[in-house]
């Protein structure tokens, strides 16, 4: 685990962001302590603490003195807004680039997206809304 390009602490921060985005970590929910992170993933506690500090700076987590770290109210909504902003540049553009290299017409890509969306609509509850209950 944690073998990507970024330093470990950025990957931990990213994983917590993803958990908040996906609703796996709800607002006011407590996250694992630096000690738990360190022993679970066999990493230096300072590395885990760096991830938490970064998330506190971003307003994703907040600290309750002597108790631990909790997901900030509204964190998911803020992360959703940010991720939507970067979605086209980070996710859609590379798809368009790859399709061009492979000679796949853009209509085929769009058709596939519609198919996939229809499949997801039929099989899974709606996600990506700001309604926390919908993500459960």
């Amino acid at each position: 685990m944690f073998d990507g390009r970024d330093p470990v602490y950025l990957q931990i921060a990213d994983q917590i962001r993803q958990d908040v985005l996906a609703g796996a970590l709800a607002a006011e929910e407590q996250v694992m302590s630096t000690t738990q992170y360190a022993t679970t993933f066999r990493i230096n506690p300072a590395t885990a603490a760096k991830a938490f500090n970064q998330l506190v700076d971003e307003g994703v987590l907040y600290k309750r003195r002597g108790v631990g770290m909790f997901v900030a109210p509204g964190a998911r909504e803020r992360l959703l807004a940010e991720s939507r902003e970067s979605f086209f540049a980070d996710t859609v553009d590379p798809v368009a680039d790859a399709a061009r290299v492979l000679g796949i017409p853009v209509e085929d890509v769009v058709a596939r997206l519609r198919e996939r969306a229809a499949h997801l609509d039929a099989t899974t509850p709606t996600t990506g809304t700001t309604d926390t209950e919908a993500a459960r």
Partner: protein
Amino acid sequence: MTSPGYGVTLRGVTQRFGDTVALDDVDLEIRPGTITGLLGRNGSGKTTLGSLVAAFRRPTSGEVLVDGEEPWENERTAPGVCLVRESGDVLDEDRLRDNLDFFAGARPTFDRAFAAELMELFELDPKSKPSKLSRGKKSAFGITVGLASRAPLTILDEVHLGLDAPSRYAFYDTLLADYLAHPRTIVLSSHLIEEIERLLEDVVVLDRGRVLLTQDADSLRAEGVSVTGPQDAVDAFVAGRTVLGTQRLGRTTQVTVRGVLTDADVARARATGLELGPVPLQDLFVHLTDPRRRDGVVAAKVPGEGALP
């Protein structure tokens, strides 16, 4: 909270052995309370550094400070500094049980119950003698003494040589858990950089008796990037950067560079079809201590250095 451990400071420290200079005008800081990795090739001066800090000897010149004081014949710092080397640094002809009695008497912080736990973990027989143990078991006993001492400054120098992989991982897990429960300064020296790098907060790299770098491990990791793609594009991208190594396979080139990439750099790399990858600390270490590199030969100019991994 009690003191998180002893810090170490070296100022202008030189250690000679006859004509050999083991440490050459070394300035160094080990932060109290950290797990610091002391990395270096054989003969780089790691063991000499350990002996100076543990006051086994005095330097030829310069100043060594442990918790702010010179450690040589220092009754306050001596019980708080524990050095375990590959040899184990134990009483070879005394039973393990008697060894533990001895160290428990010498170190106020020694924890007998924890020592017993470690003995069981590593399947060590209290009735056997270190001189009769296999290399792996001997290492395990050195680790037992080193960890159970709970010294404010614990230096473990290649202590896990001869240990099999399950025992090494048991050692890493125990070290981390005990460090979390009892924060202190731990200096860990190993050639198995890949295995220990995540445990480290700070890294010191020694090379031929000099300090090559001291840095926190996370920022050091962020400084190594591998750039892979068509030769021309790679060459254009790495121009003006610190190139640590180059590998070519057919028309594909992979270059390891040192330095932090900006978002603009990453975007430019993507736009020109280059792949950016992580450089494990171990590879960074190999590149940084490459004799061709330190002798002034630019690694990038050595063509066809081998296949891509």
